[in-house]
């Protein structure tokens, strides 16, 4: 029913093989590229496609790649990001399990576009089985001549190594990831442009696995085709949406960018579980805000959500029903964020435990009226932190206060959680 581009080769139980991937046109984009396209051609096609980052920030991919100067030093690096520790998000795991070569081809094309020599496939430890799939398929790609010295007989040489992480959400932040790969304590580094001096002080681009997987499709079918896959003018391409929580068919689905939440919930995910009614949803992973049902018809793309004051994030939707205490859910989220803070800067390291403490006391029925303005103020301070982690952590708190203030206040009036 919905056009499947990234998930064209999806089947139950196992990833597509190299032969299956090639039968559907796989590695054609790479073959064409090394034979007749310039890095500039790739970047131009991406520009036409409107592809923007699928890792949460939504930055236009062509622009990031074009920041690497023509005469910048070598070696240059690509980081493929499958840290995927944003709660609610599991699309990259499903993608790697569906069509590993689509991701691999995308990484190789990224390498070609910035004239890189090497890529690191950065993956979290709970995805060890997926890391093994990638390693195995990288070897298959090498043996087929798509990777390694003189790819397909051209003068382009490029290889990919899997880099295993050892946990911690912050490692998914691109500048922290680069530190992690270098074997340094992974705090974000905002004082350098990675496209000038990233990994080992060399030009580096980091992209999300899903972003990279879109690239072969753009090169093979053209930028205009990709752009046209979206439902909206403001969107581009398809998107791997995750939906989880109190729905009938939770899962990861490839859908046109800009599809409204109502359609995802009702048509794709089979609606709410019996006995459940929609109370709120989080549109794009734990670092986006709660949204009440009145937003059900907003197009789920980056610009449309921005227009109503929300962030698209990773497109990982979490659905809450009438029996869920939003304060309780926020307590869970802020506990996670306080634990995952890298500890480098004070607003985040000190502020999040403070927010956590206030919310915990509210949930315990020990809250007071002035906790509400204090929470609002503290959540606002998160914008002063060093990296995007802390504003993300504040998003659900702000959403709770914006849309569910009455429910928070009920905890104060009743001196207990009204859901317990």
């Amino acid at each position: 029913m919905y056009e499947q581009a990234l998930f064209k080769n999806r089947q139950e139980g196992r990833p597509a093989t190299l032969a299956e991937y090639r039968a559907g046109g796989g590695y054609q984009a790479l073959t064409d590229t090394v034979n007749k396209l310039s890095p500039q051609d790739l970047i131009q096609a991406l520009k036409e496609s409107g592809l923007s980052g699928r890792g949460g920030a939504g930055f236009p991919t062509w622009r990031k790649w074009s920041f690497v100067h023509e005469n910048a030093p070598h070696p240059r690096y690509v980081g493929a990001n499958t840290d995927e520790m944003e709660p609610g998000t599991f699309k990259d795991r499903v993608l790697v399990n569906t069509d590993p070569h689509l991701v691999i081809e995308g990484i190789i094309l990224a390498g070609y576009a910035i004239k890189a020599q090497k890529a690191f496939y950065f993956i979290r430890p709970t995805y060890e089985m997926d890391a093994q799939i990638i390693e195995r398929e990288l070897q298959v790609a090498r043996e087929a001549g798509f990777l390694g010295q003189n790819i397909l007989g051209s003068d382009f040489s490029f290889d990919i190594a899997v880099h295993r992480s050892a946990g911690r959400y912050i490692c998914g932040e691109a500048t922290a990831m680069v530190q992690a790969i270098m074997g340094r304590r992974p705090h974000p580094q905002k004082n350098v442009h990675m496209t000038d001096a990233g990994l080992w002080d060399r030009p580096t681009i980091v992209n999300n696995a899903e972003t990279l997987a879109c690239v072969p499709l753009v090169i093979r079918n053209g930028g205009a085709w990709f752009k046209g896959l979206a439902r909206t003018e403001t969107g581009a391409g398809t998107k791997l949406y995750c939906i989880s929580g109190k729905v009938v068919r939770p899962g990861c689905y490839e859908l046109p960018m800009g599809i409204p939440f109502r359609e995802i919930l009702e048509e794709v995910a089979g609606g709410m579980l019996p006995g459940s009614e929609l109370k709120a949803f989080i549109p794009g992973g734990a670092s986006t805000s709660f949204m009440p049902p009145k937003f059900m018809d907003v197009a789920m793309d980056i610009d449309s959500l921005k227009q109503v004051g929300h962030r698209f994030g990773t497109g990982a939707i979490i659905v809450f029903d009438q029996n869920t205490c939003i304060l309780g859910a926020t307590l869970n989220l802020i506990t996670y964020f306080a634990r995952e803070s890298c500890g480098f800067c004070t607003p985040c390291r000190q502020g999040l435990p403070y927010i956590l403490d206030l919310i915990q006391r509210l949930e315990n029925g020990e809250g007071e009226e002035d906790f509400i303005p204090r929470l609002r103020e503290l959540a606002g301070h998160m914008d002063k932190a060093y990296c995007a982690f802390a504003p993300g952590a504040a998003a659900p708190v702000k959403g709770m206060l914006q849309y569910f203030e009455a429910e928070v206040r009920e905890h104060i009036i009743q001196k207990k959680c009204p859901f317990k």
Partner: protein
């Protein structure tokens, strides 16, 4: 001293990387797979092998949550405490496992088999509540299913993957 075969394995792993430091995490994983955790002695030797000071490696070991600086059970039950799993069990499964095994978070069960740890969303939200053990996922957890899984793990002689 770490045993010679392990040392050789580590050396060849390090040699594959352009920069030895890139292998810091892998080397720590190997040592903890061998000893069950990252021993002080192992840390010292690993640091020398990747060209870091022990303190620099300790900076990493203490940062990551899949590096264990104390002994853990043969299997670590990484139980998701993410928001979707929370929605379905509100923490009770974690408590159930601790009660059943007679441990608190991080302790080793009397038979040496299990440690229970809370873990950030493990990317199986569509099958919440979920946990990951020795690289394997278990979803739609219930107390009965947990009993079954624990029995199965006890009798299994499966190889340990990277992170228990």
């Amino acid at each position: 001293m770490i045993p010679e075969p392990l040392r050789e394995k580590l050396k060849s792993q390090i040699n594959q990387a352009e920069n030895p430091r890139e292998q810091a995490v892998n080397v720590m994983y190997e040592i903890q797979r061998h000893y069950g955790y990252l021993t002080d002695e192992g840390l010292q030797e690993a640091a020398a092998m990747v060209g870091a000071t022990p303190l620099e490696l300790e900076e990493l070991a203490t940062f990551y949550d899949f590096i264990y600086r104390e002994p853990v059970g043969r299997f670590v039950l990484h139980v998701c405490d993410g928001v979707v799993c929370w929605m379905f069990h509100e923490g009770s499964l974690f408590d159930y496992m601790c009660r059943k095994l007679g441990v608190c978070a991080g302790e080793v069960s009397a038979d040496g088999m299990f440690t229970v740890l809370p873990t950030a969303c493990i990317g199986y939200c569509d099958q919440a509540p979920a946990m990951v053990v020795n690289g394997r996922f278990f979803g739609h957890l219930t107390p009965a299913l947990i009993d079954e899984i624990l029995e199965q793990l006890k009798t299994e002689t499966c190889d340990l993957v990277l992170c228990r």
